[in-house]
């Protein structure tokens, strides 16, 4: 590819840039996989792949909701707090039955989404500020409901967290199913098309008579509900509710996955396949650094660099 770029004309260079923008994330995943297979001992085992996949599942689910928000030219910073709120609600309602607790937790996330969406759609507050307010208030609410870590002793939750079908963990199956569902919603439903139209140009969408407010609220309800599901699954895996630290910096990981996956921050386009690959890329990056005994702080620095590179690549394409 370097030979090509050196001898190529501007058009070719643009094509390569566009290719990198669209498929760079898959390339990154492939490179990291190959590097790990070559350099990391015991990397190539079913057990290791299962561990990595289980760890990526909650991040991916949150990132799916984030992709919808970003596609509508918004962002949802409250997702980490929604995870905390969902784990608190889950613990409080487990006495009434596992599934009732799960439903309450997901409804809690959806309600935060309604609050976010209403601030954005009806009042006209910028998404970053509206969701920032809910990010603080949501974490506070989670801690009011459940002030400290509480172990979860529930057989259904335990099997949800560690069970598997045909060797594939439930967590991974659920994440994959949700990814397919969201991809279907974006590509094949009216809601999906309207959301992309609004992300492209809100005034144009309004002039075209689209129900802008309803769609925006629904976007943040989806994001809240998905984050709450991620909170339930993370609780099931950890067999404990920890509202203090669950979901910390999750908004960052989710935004990274979406942006690295090729969804532009300017809205109007959502790439679910890229988002999945983006989440896997971050997970592989973290795992690689940890497996080679580099301190966790390096992961943060590496993630920051990856975010900037991805956004920079997207910019090159937008400018041309």
């Amino acid at each position: 590819m370097t030979d090509l770029a050196l001898g190529a004309k501007a058009a070719d260079r643009e094509r390569i840039l566009r290719f990198l923008q669209n498929y760079g994330v898959y390339l990154g995943v492939a490179v990291l996989l190959l590097l790990n297979i070559a350099l990391t001992p015991h990397f190539l085992s079913a057990e290791n792949f299962r561990t990595q996949a289980v760890q990526v599942a909650p991040v991916l689910i949150v990132a799916l909701g984030m992709a919808l928000a970003i596609g509508s030219e918004g962002v949802d910073l409250s997702v980490g707090s929604v995870m905390a709120l969902s784990t608190s609600l889950l613990s409080l309602y487990l006495g009434y039955g596992t599934w009732i607790a799960v439903i309450v937790a997901v409804i809690g996330g959806a309600v935060i989404g309604i609050a976010n969406g209403s601030l954005i759609a009806f009042i006209g507050v910028q998404p970053i500020v509206a969701t920032l307010a809910l990010m603080v208030a949501g974490r506070g609410l989670a801690l009011v409901l459940l002030p400290q870590l509480k172990d979860v002793h529930d057989p259904t939750m335990a099997s949800l967290g560690s069970g598997a079908v045909l060797g594939i963990p439930y967590l991974v199956l659920i994440a994959a199913a949700l990814a397919l569902l969201v991809a279907f919603v974006v590509r094949r439903t009216t809601f999906g098309r309207q959301l992309l139209a609004i992300g492209d140009s809100r005034p144009a969408a309004r002039l075209a008579g689209l129900p802008v407010r309803r769609v925006l609220i629904l976007v943040y309800v989806c994001s809240g509900a998905l984050a709450a599901i991620a909170g339930v699954l993370a609780t099931a895996r950890l067999t404990a509710s920890d509202p203090t630290s669950l979901g910390n910096l999750m908004e960052l990981s989710a935004i990274t996955a979406v942006v690295v996956g090729g969804t532009p921050l300017s809205g109007g386009r959502v790439r679910i396949g890229g988002t999945v690959a983006g989440a896997v890329l971050i997970q592989l990056l973290t795992a690689t650094l940890i497996k080679h005994d580099l301190p966790p702080s390096w992961t943060q620095i590496a993630q920051a660099v990856v975010i900037i590179l991805a956004v920079y690549a997207a910019r090159e394409r937008g400018k041309r």
């Binding site: 601030l119 960052l252 702080s297 975010i307 900037i308 910019r315």
Partner: protein
């Protein structure tokens, strides 16, 4: 642009009321909150409590000062919390080599990160929130890697001149409070009286128009993010001098407090309109509310978060509503 130029002559009465509410609403709320708090708690209007509130407000105020410049240009800086913590740790480490190192090292490093933020935003045209979000993550990573993953705490020598900057008193008022007041006066003069200040308002008001007028848009943006980084680093250094140690866990959530203070103070998040003095009032209001919540006692920090989040939402709703009213009328 500037609030004084903003009112057309012959503005209608309700328009003027809205404008007044937007400009001085925070001050009125602050006065009411102080009166209510002093009536409810005997412990509120004591010298110790006021002194404590003033000093603890000082650090946030310095961060909010830099944030005000950024927000008036229509941007946002989410990295200030991490830079605050990083500045504190660098200052505590540097204090063993003297006060100059303790102050210059955090200013250099945090200013540089701010400069990089500004360059990426202004020259490469990346979204401010994503760039500063990455800087928040990166700066926290640097902080953790120079403190053995957060396990090592650097102490400041209690008898050094640097510690005096944090703990000393002039006329019975803590040194950080004086430093903060001087910085705010300087900031207000720069914003209102200098050409750079005019550019800051112009860029936030309408970037394209500012460029056509000949304002150096990119340079202005780079400068405001550098100022924000410098302010966060300095605030962290002063805080380390006050605590006589560099605490690694500080600063998370501080970006939100700073943004809230600026917005509460009447600066519009859409850019082009705002005041330095309002941000100071915003910080004081946040601290008074926190103090009241602490005095009630039964309310713990979790309620504090709920209240400050709800408060930010309320202020933004009020601002949007007042702004819309003015535009419609």
């Amino acid at each position: 642009m500037k609030p004084s130029d903003d009112e057309p002559t012959g503005a209608s009465r309700s328009e003027r009321v809205s404008a007044l509410a937007q400009q001085h609403g925070a001050l009125v709320t602050l006065v009411v909150a102080v009166i209510a708090a002093s009536a409810s708690f005997d412990t509120f209007l004591t010298g110790d409590n006021l002194e404590n509130m003033a000093v603890s407000s000082a650090f946030l105020a310095v961060v909010a000062l830099g944030m005000t410049f950024v927000i008036i240009t229509g941007g946002i800086d989410l990295s200030v919390g991490s830079l605050f913590a990083l500045g504190g740790v660098l200052a505590a480490w540097g204090s063993q080599y003297g006060t100059a190192v303790a102050l210059l090292l955090p200013l250099a490093v945090c200013g540089l990160i701010g400069l990089v933020n500004g360059l990426l935003i202004a020259r490469s045209r990346l979204a401010p929130f994503i760039v500063t979000l990455a800087a928040m993550l990166g700066a926290r990573g640097i902080l953790l890697s120079i403190t053995d993953e957060g396990s090592k705490t650097y102490l400041v020598d209690k008898d050094s001149f640097f510690a005096t900057l944090g703990q000393g008193k002039v006329f019975g008022i803590g040194a950080p409070v004086w430093i903060t007041l001087v910085l705010f006066v300087a900031g207000a003069v720069v914003l209102r009286r200098s050409r750079f200040g005019q550019y800051v308002y112009a860029v936030g008001g309408n970037e394209d128009a500012a460029a056509l007028m000949g304002a150096p848009v990119a340079r202005t943006k780079v400068t405001v993010y550098t100022i924000s980084g410098l302010c966060a680093g300095l605030a962290g250094a002063l805080n380390a001098a006050w605590l006589v140690s560099g605490v690694t866990i500080l600063g998370s959530g501080m970006e939100l407090e700073a943004i809230s203070a600026v917005v509460i103070g009447g600066t519009l998040l859409t850019g082009g309109f705002g005041f330095i003095s309002g941000s100071l009032v915003g910080v004081l209001l946040l601290k008074v509310i926190q103090n009241v919540i602490n005095q009630i006692g039964s309310l713990d920090s979790a309620y504090q978060q709920v209240v400050s989040g709800a408060f930010l939402a309320l202020v933004v709703i009020a601002q949007t509503w007042l702004g819309r009213r003015r535009r419609v009328l």
